[in-house]
């Protein structure tokens, strides 16, 4: 990994502050958000930047998340770059508008501080909120830590606003664990980062009266399907462009932006697939088991929508056994990440046994020791079609 190519400053920031820093450098025209734990500090911090005149953004304080997403969708329709942030029930309240934003092909970028869905009420981290909206046409990128969350924001803005994509994007970071945890974040130069995202150049804008366009018409049975097919095509293009734009970002930061991160996976016999902060803990577990001579590794997906099935299949196909750790249930079905991994592996000639694990719901801690136990189980060949739970009191 090469060193940073541009000037940077290391700052101790929480994940939320890192997102706000990214937003400050992106310079959105409009931000509308409604507070919800654990996302509120993103908007608090950003609002301070606006109040101090550090960034010239119109801050709208709407009465609910439903209004917040409506405001940013409308702002994008008028040609502005608009951003928001939410979590859990807030995201759930936005659901009515989310497919409209993607259906209208408006590149809103939103940070999601992953928090469990009620009921029961729980303010802590799990992925049930972002997983619940995975089919609505939003690009989804997961972040392991504050640094990734910061960098993913820039990647997302470029990807979402690309004329061949024009889909909204959500960037996930684990609630409390990352959102409220102070870590050292390398913040790159303001000019460079703003230049990377550039200014939004919308093709369609409701404020462009010289070239008037109607947005959001009724489409009956004879056209809806075609418009939706376009959306699916945009997701296909997004998959390719994610890598291209990532390479451009690499020129600045010196880091890699692949569909996923592989950690000691290439020569492993047993691997686990895990998203977000637990992957960091899992890397320590991998190192400790490797010292004992066990050939283990992990795969941490970053781009979840569009899902890179072929590339993940290629990365996992040499493994003897795979464990997938999900931080959410899909009630009555395979857990979301597990289901995607199974799908990815379907085309292989030789079937690889994959074990589904659910962990960390409602912020239940996941320990390095527990992950080591998972690896040891998998090394012993203990794989079944039954979903297992980690850290659950039976």
């Amino acid at each position: 990994m090469s060193a940073t190519k541009v000037k940077s400053t290391k700052k101790p920031l929480t994940g939320n502050e890192a997102i706000a820093e990214a937003m400050r450098q992106i310079k959105p025209d409009v931000v509308a958000a409604y507070p919800i734990t654990p996302q509120s500090p993103i908007v608090h911090t950003f609002a301070k930047f606006v109040a101090d005149g550090v960034v010239d953004t119109v801050m709208v304080t709407p009465e609910s998340e439903h209004s917040a997403i409506s405001v940013v969708t409308g702002a994008e329709a008028s040609g502005a770059r608009a951003m928001s942030a939410t979590a859990s029930q807030g995201l759930a309240l936005m659901v009515e508008v989310l497919p409209a934003t993607s259906g209208l092909r408006l590149p809103v970028v939103m940070a999601i501080a992953n928090r469990a869905l009620s009921a029961p009420i729980n303010i802590h981290c799990d992925h049930s909120d972002s997983m619940a909206v995975r089919d609505l046409g939003w690009i989804q990128i997961y972040s392991e830590n504050a640094q990734e969350a910061y960098e993913n924001m820039f990647l997302a803005v470029r990807l979402a606003e690309h004329p061949d994509v024009l889909l909204p994007a959500m960037i996930m970071l684990d609630g409390f664990i990352i959102s409220h945890g102070v870590e050292v974040v390398e913040v790159y130069e303001d000019e460079v980062m703003h230049k990377f995202v550039g200014e939004r150049k919308p093709k369609f804008s409701l404020l462009n009266y010289k070239e008037p366009w109607t947005m959001g018409p009724l489409e009956l049975t004879d056209y809806y399907f075609e418009t939706k097919r376009q959306e699916q095509e945009a997701m296909k293009k997004a998959k390719k462009l994610y890598i291209e734009i990532g390479k451009e970002l690499s020129e600045i930061t010196g880091k890699e932006y692949g569909y996923f991160e592989k950690y000691r996976l290439d020569d492993a016999e047993v691997g686990i697939v895990v998203l977000s902060s637990a992957a960091g803990t899992a890397k320590d577990a991998v190192d400790e088991l490797r010292k004992e001579g066990k050939k283990v590794g992990l795969l941490k997906p970053k781009l979840f929508r569009p899902f890179p099935y072929e590339e993940i299949r290629d990365a996992l196909k040499h493994l003897k056994i795979i464990g997938v750790l999900d931080r959410s249930y899909s009630f009555g079905a395979y857990a979301p990440l597990y289901a995607e991994i199974r799908n990815a592996l379907y085309d292989l000639d030789k079937r690889i046994p994959v074990q589904s694990y659910v962990y960390g719901l409602g912020g239940r801690d996941i320990f390095k020791q527990e992950i080591k136990e998972v690896f040891n189980e998998l090394l012993e060949g203990k794989v079944s079609s039954e979903e297992k739970c980690i850290g659950l009191r039976e």
């Binding site: 259906g103 209208l104 092909r105 408006l106 024009l166 369609f204 070239e211 008037p212 366009w213 109607t214 947005m215 959001g216 018409p217 489409e219 004879d222 056209y223 399907f225 075609e226 418009t227 097919r229 376009q230 095509e233 945009a234």
Partner: protein, 116 residues
């Protein structure tokens, strides 16, 4: 734009603009005049050019022009400035709202007779 592209003809997913977006004035291709059962019979001698029928028409089928010389209207007065013309029968659906709203009964709905 509407001259080159016929928006009323079915198109594939690659040809239509994204997101259901439509350029302006596509409704001009859709000639709703063929829906008529009744047509508005306009008597200019009773018209005060108050524009009520123009605003109420759901299809914007009553054209308005600015007349400098003026036109003869209600009680033989000369009306200058914005005046209404004969209804555009390519778009008039015959809903009768103009006749209903006209304050001087200058418009009467009569049965449409379609000529071959």
């Amino acid at each position: 734009m509407s001259e080159k592209v016929k928006w009323s003809e079915p198109k594939g997913w690659k040809e239509i603009p994204i997101g259901g977006n439509l350029p302006a004035k596509t409704s001009l291709e859709y000639k709703t005049g063929s829906w008529r059962t009744f047509r508005p019979d306009f008597d200019p001698d009773l018209c005060t050019h108050c524009m009520i029928c123009v605003h109420y028409c759901p299809d914007s089928a009553i054209p308005v022009v600015i007349s400098e010389e003026g036109v003869k209207g209600f009680r033989d007065r000369i009306y200058k400035g914005p005046v209404r013309l004969e209804t555009d029968f390519e778009y008039c659906k015959g809903c009768g709202i103009c006749a209903e709203e006209c304050p001087t009964d200058a418009i009467k709905m009569v049965r449409e007779t379609w000529e071959d």
